[in-house]
Amino acid sequence: MALIDLANPTRFLSLSRALLPWLTGLCVLAFAVGLYMAFFVAPEDYQQGDTVRIMYIHVPAAWLAMMCYSIMALSSLGTLVWKHPLADVSAKAAAPLGAAFTFMSLITGSLWGKPMWGTYWVWDARLTSVLVLFIMYLGLMALWRTMEDPIKAGKAAAVLTLVGALNLPIIKFSVDWWNTLHQPASVMRMDGPTIHPDILWPLLVMALAFTLLFFVLHLMAMQNEILRRRVTALRQRAAAIRPATATASVRSAAAE
């Protein structure tokens, strides 16, 4: 089977149906191990005490927020350059997930910031650029909903997504380029992580758990989007056969 064969929506549905139970099981296992390590294995931080345990959800959520947008950007290239049939399905399915992870990152960051920095929010480069990312996710979700034709919506969203991808290196390097309250990178550095392994390993396990969660939800959301487009296509066929009675059905499908 060639890679292009995976572009077939029916084949994708059957492949994802086979894959999902395994991914779900691994995800649950990773969360169980990660949460156990976060609360019972990892020590307190010498400065932050137990508050460091917020890191085990804040950092993976932030990583996933950026990874999700990267996937959307790659999907957008697939839409515009290769016209891959599932590319815009992938991008549309990923947007709400990315928004949710960004929201989690912002909220947990605020709840971590209050005891550590004495404030829930500052307009420094890192926090502001992640807030911009969250607003971009919401904007893309709104754009998808405003256009009835999913193909046209996919192209418009793809262009906007690629423009917005400029924010990703800004988020990553904001702590280096500007004088920020947010700490510099501790894990993904050229000279390697600066975190002690006792704290690093639980973080990496939780990051794996969040990544598996994203892929499970993404595959399920893609399946739903494919089914939604089938429903719309069938309702349009019904409208063509029975124009007088089917008009209301097509309008309701377009509104969805």
Partner: protein
Amino acid sequence: MALFEFLDLGPHAAFILWSYGICLAVVIGLIAWVRIDRARQEAALRDLEAQGIGRRSGARTQA
């Protein structure tokens, strides 16, 4: 003893518990969203099939 140690999250325990609680709520919300959406699409497909409107590929297979 382990449970008591688990609950003893220091002076900022509320911030830690709220963080995990909000994340749990968001994850549950996401799972509910995909499952409800799936049920809605499958119900719509069943309705259309009940009206005799099926996919062209399904008709070719049967032929």
